[in-house]
Each structure stands twice: as C-alpha cells, then as structure tokens.
Symmetry: C2
Amino acid sequence: MTEPNINYAPDSISEQFTQIQDLAERLLPVYAQPDVEQNSDYIQLVELLHDLHPADMAAVLESLPLQERVLVWKLAQPEDDGEVLLEVSDSVRETLIETMGKEELIAAVEDLPAAEVAELAPDLPQNVVSEVLESRDEEERQQIQSTMSYAEDTVGSIMDYELVSIRADVTCEVVLRYLRRFDILPDHTDKIFVVDEDDILQGVLPIRKLLVCDPDDLVADVMSSDVVKFRPEDNAEEAAQAFEKYDLITAPVIDETQKLIGRLTVDEMLDVIREESEADMLNMAGLQEEEDLFAPVIDSVKNRWVWLAVNLCTALVASRVIGLFEGSIEKIVALAALMPIVAGIGGNSGNQTITMIVRALATGQLNGTQPLQLFKKEIGVAIANGVLWGSAMGIITFIIYKEIGLSLVMIAAMTLNLVLAAALGVLIPLTMEKLGKDPALGSSVLITAVTDSGGFFIFLGLASLFLL
Amino acid sequence: MTEPNINYAPDSISEQFTQIQDLAERLLPVYAQPDVEQNSDYIQLVELLHDLHPADMAAVLESLPLQERVLVWKLAQPEDDGEVLLEVSDSVRETLIETMGKEELIAAVEDLPAAEVAELAPDLPQNVVSEVLESRDEEERQQIQSTMSYAEDTVGSIMDYELVSIRADVTCEVVLRYLRRFDILPDHTDKIFVVDEDDILQGVLPIRKLLVCDPDDLVADVMSSDVVKFRPEDNAEEAAQAFEKYDLITAPVIDETQKLIGRLTVDEMLDVIREESEADMLNMAGLQEEEDLFAPVIDSVKNRWVWLAVNLCTALVASRVIGLFEGSIEKIVALAALMPIVAGIGGNSGNQTITMIVRALATGQLNGTQPLQLFKKEIGVAIANGVLWGSAMGIITFIIYKEIGLSLVMIAAMTLNLVLAAALGVLIPLTMEKLGKDPALGSSVLITAVTDSGGFFIFLGLASLFLL
C-alpha cells in the first residue's frame, strides 16, 4: 500500500469517524428512496468516504453496527475494495464479503499482488477464487497457490513476491541504471537481493550502501554476504522476533537449495506482533477469537461458550470440595465467609507468577535450564507474602470473629495456598512448554482451578482438623 | 544498530544460550583464581560471547541468574556495552549498571548517538551524565536534554536526530551526488526530508522514487508534499498505530512552526507496540512492571504487593457480604458450596465483555457513540448464557441436592449475575475512558470485585427470600 497523502491528526480522524457514523445512521431509513443521491447527507457522506485511506475506511467499517456498515460499504469506492478487505478483521471481512456479488469481488481483488490475493482467498467463494486464478499468469498462479499451501503461522503464508534482484558481478552504476527502469520500486525496498544465474541467494545490497558507493564498485565487493534469511516453514512469530532484535525492514526467504523465493517485510511483522499479543489477551480472558463488536448474539455466544463451560466445570469441582466439608461449615458458619479470601489470594498470586513465566518463555529468556532457581525464588516470595498478608487477614479475622484458632487457621491456609500457587505457577507453564503446548493458553484457567479447589480444601481441611 | 552478519537460526541460537549458561555456571566458583584466563571454559566462553550480536547478548544476560550475569557481563566486549544496555529490560539494566565504574560507563555510551544517550541517561549516575554531556557539542547536548525533557510515552522521547534533508529546488542528480558524500546513510533511511532554508518541512522524497526518477527532475516535482508527520508531544502509542495503519518506515517530527526537528523509525514503534501489549498483560495479571526473572525476593514482593492488597480488600468485601447471610447458610449449608459457582461465572463472563471493549477502545473502533447498541447486545448474550448455563447448573444442583427450589434459585441467580456482569462490563471501561483513565488497568479487578460480591448477594439474597 502506498503512503497516504494526509496530514496525520488523530483528533480530526476521530471527528471524521463520528461524522460518518452520524450520517450513516441518518441515511439508513431513507436509503431505499429513489432520489437518495440528491440527499445532502448522502452527498456529504460520499465525499467524506472518498478521502479516506483504505486503513481508515477499514476502521470506520469495524466501528459501525451491521446495517450502517453495509450502507457505508456500498458507498465506498470500488477500486479500493480489495485493500479495505485486507485491512479489516476476519469477522468483519465476512460481513462485507456476504454483501458482494461475484463480479464485485473479482473486481476488488483484480489489482492485488499475488501474496494479497492468497491472503483473501480462504474467505472468498470458490468460484471467485478459480476465476481470479485463471486471470493470472502461470507464475502468479503458482505463487498464490504456494502461499495458500503454508499454514497460517508460518513465514510462507505471509511472504510476498515483490523482489528486486541483481547479479554480483555488475557495478553499482549498472544497478542504479537497472533500477531506473522501474516505474517505482516495491514498498519497503531497503535492500536488493543478490543472486546467481540459478536464483541462489548470494547476499544483499542495502540501498543505503548502494547510494553512497562508488559507481565503479562491483556489487560483490559492496554487498553483505551473511544475511538474516528465513525458510517458508519457519514460525512467523520467531521471524517477527528476529525482525525486532535485528531491526530489519525486509529479509529474503529461501528454499532448501538456498534459492530466493520471496521476501518478508516489517509491516507484516508488525501485524504478527499485534495479532500475537491480542491472541494472548483474548485467550487469557477466555475468548476464542477476535469478535466483531456488533456480531449477532448467537455468534458471540458461540465465541465465548468454551471457556465459560471450562470455568463452570472447575467451579463445580471447587463446589464439590466445599461439599465435603458441609458438616464443618454447619458447625462454624464463619468458614463459609472466610474461604473465598483464601482461594482468591492464591489465584491472584498464581496468575502473577504464571504471567511472568509465560512472558519469559515467549521471549526466549527461559529455556528450561534454570527452573530450580526460579522455583526457589517463587516459593520465597510466596512465604513472604503468606506471612505478610496472612497476618493481616489473621488480625482482621480476630477482630470480626474473636476466635484465635480461626485466625491461626487463616494464616496457615493463606500461606500454604500461596506456596501451592507459586509451585504450580512455575510448573504448569514449564510443563506445557515441554509438552509442546502454548503455555499462554490454558495456564491461567488451570492455576485458578487449582488455587480455588486447593484453597477451599486447605482452609476447610485445617479448620476441620483443629477447630472441631 | 547495523544488521547482524549472521545466519539466523533460532535452534542454534538457543543451543548457544544453553552453552553459555553452562559455561558461566561452571566458571563461577573458579573465577577468582589468578590463572582463570588459561581455563578452557573461560576461553570458550569469551569466544562464544565475542560472536554475539548485542541483541542476543542482551537476551543471554536476561536469562542468567544474578551472579552468572555479572560474570558474563565482565567478559563482554566493552565496545558493545552501550548497545547491550539499550537492549536489556529496565530491571536487568539496573543490575548491570551497578557493576560498572564511572569510566566504564562513560566508555560505554561514548559512541552512542544523542537519542540513545538520552534513553540511557535516567538510569546512569548523575556524574556520568554530566561528563557525557560535556563531551558532546552544543547541538548534541541540546538534543539529549530536549529528548530527556519529554514524558516517556510521547513521540519526543523516542525520536532520533539522524536526519538527511535536502532543498526542493535541486535536481535528483544533485541529491544523489550529495548522498554519495555520506559514509553510510542512517539506519532505516527510506525517505529524505525536504526543507526550506529555515528547516521548515516542505515534503519528503521517498528513496524508492529517487532511484527511479529522471536525474534532471526537480525534487519539488517528485516529492510528496502531504506526509504523515508528528509533533513531539504526540502520544507514542497513537504514533505506533499510525505506523501500522499506513505502513511507515520513518516519519518526520516537526515543531509548532513546522520546523523539522527529528524523525521516528519503525524499529522504535515495534518496541512501543511490544511494550504496550506487555504492559496490558502484566497489568491484567496484577504486576506493576516487568520483573527481572531472578530479582531478589524483596523486589518481587514490592512489584506484586499493590494488586494483592487490592485483591484482599475486594475479597474482604465479598466475605462481609457472605457474613450478612450466615443465618441462611446455617440453615441450608448447600448454599456455601453453590455460591462460588454463581460468583465465578459472572467474573468470567464480565472479563470476556471487558476485554473485547478495552480492545475496541485501544484500536479506536469504539469512540463512545454506539454504547446503547453494544449494551443491548451484551445483555442479550448474558440472558442467552444465563438460560443455557443456568439450566445446566440447575439440573446438576437438582441431581446433587434433590431440591427444586434450590435449582430455581440457582438459575435465577446465575442469569442475574451474568446480566450484572454484562452491564458493568460495558459501563466500567467506557466510564474509565471518559474519565481519562486507562481502561485496561483496573477494569478486570473492578469487574471481578463486583461480580463476586454481587454474585454472593444475589444468590444468598434470593435463597433467603424464597427458601427459608
């Protein structure tokens, strides 16, 4: 995508958004009328939409309720449709594609490069995809199909094919003359790939070196021959981390024979980082995927049911643990009021430990060689917190119930549950990592389940032992 | 930082890490001996460290326990020290700077450009900072002081001063000749800034246009005159969103007179996005800031105490709510076992709603004009979930306790608590945003507090009304 010809000003953009939302709302009831094109709201809305960058158009569409969204989408300029479809979230993209006919969809993706067609293809109707494939030449068709064949989280699925490559045995002067034959260089071109006659990658020539080198220098003498390069099977998140670490703008993608087949660009990596962190956040909150704000109720229920069900199951287990001690609660009813405190602090503290460890695993700081030291440290923190907060709650318990035994049980139970939370807060994510599972995903639910049931068991168990 | 001359291979890097950790651990007990430099572990370790890119060195240091970390840091090449200090996390940076003398610190930051000196300065001893400032020329001194004067989350604090600028009335040929006088262009240079004699920004000349244009073309005819530009007071996160939206590599920073004063680069924006999402994740889990994995216990306790204290207070409130109904629990002890289920599902569901809304606010999809529609939708989802899961739990309750009244109270309480969670899940983040507070920060704690106390109150209240 080209850079927008706009003065970036967040305030004026948000003002425009509000205006578009208002206009769309007012226009909705009269949109079916034949003379709508003379309507002043209509004229104003079309004008506002006309000036929007595709990325801003995407944001407007995501912020609109369904009916208004469809209305605005119909008024958008068709030549930008493909770009906008690429920018919106998956759930919103579906709602937009549903409103488009076959010809409209074909027109929308017509001008997109191979990699972006491949990105949209899974969401398009089959007959549209086949027709689009037929309209491309053999090379592009292969690129589209090859991109689609890679799994979503691999480098292959996000690379593009807009390569500028040269030979090592020419001079910088020749390279500059060669580049001048382009209408414009591909987006993000910060280096030119140096290949031999079989397209085997020899090195890269950074533009910032090309611009300062002597015209008579050979590319071979100026290029960097050791470069950060990727394979299409590589994990996209790891590639994004390498981009971050080594401050890359673009990087070559090669096959097993070192042949240059594509490139990665930093803008795709930004998306990977954003999506990764959003996925973690959504998973931690128990949402399966990003949700269209204005999705129908039934879609939202579907997106959220799994974690609610898991939560109900763990709550049921905790409830049965309490059930074991109904006799004790009948005798000392204060136990019922105090037990959620023990469970709560364990869950809170366990989640603190787990978050720190999940983060360290994600950034590669922790690779399983130092668990003992971590373990000791977390147990130490748990005991310190147990003595600190346990004593505080012990005093409060005594003030309310005037029972020194109950206070002591409270202190002991809180400390033990904090130690349990610390131990499992270290073990659960490390075990998940060893088993090849995503430690971010289930860890928080698991630790809360353990500290709830464990907290109730420890507290009610100690009370039954010592107070009855 | 320049691009590393390495073959990127995550597996071999993680192997190197393990090797370095092992060597450091073995070397620790013998390090004080005089002939340590003949030790084969020593020689091997120094060699391994010598080949590391500063970013990888930073990652190694973060992954090591304190004593080993200090050992490795002493063996690192001093010329890279400044780069490494910039790459490590704040908490690890402190532990490294503590081990360095004044001269060492001055040597480490000597070669860094102004913007990076400013980034390190707050962590350096005052006498080091003054000496470094004295060693720079007037312009750089002003740049360092000006960068330090901006708040941490502003564009001003992360911009750099490595500008390449030209006049609009010269030809592309002249520009190319001018660029050739540089040894190398600044990192990330994807565009040249076009200014007038007073440094007022006129436009930008993208390198990818410069390389294809006719040598006799005037810059004024080739440049883009409307560009995405920022002010030093702008919010860094909003700037990062603009970089993402418009696929930028660099962007000019101007003052109120449109004078060019600095530039933003995409690598800093990657850091902003990463830090922002990490901060959200840490905050959601109740950690105040990123923690050094191997921090002393006391530091960890300090980092975590605030949220544990908040959690204890809300748990205490919930406990007092239960206390109100001790009479009812004494009569029907099953209530004690069932009440955590009602509270739990409310918290879970409320957090789902809040996460979705916090995300929509963060990405600008939601700007406060559509709350009613959202509200209706979330209440709808809550009622659907209440009927679905309430009935499931009603049946389970009946199977366990054989009490139809208890089952009906369970269904009603779960549905009501889900509706409460949905209403506050919409209201809390929108209100926080209106009040200018960060909706990510306290929302999760607040909603859980409400659904816990509310859930206990609704369930025990209904039971007291209808079952006693």
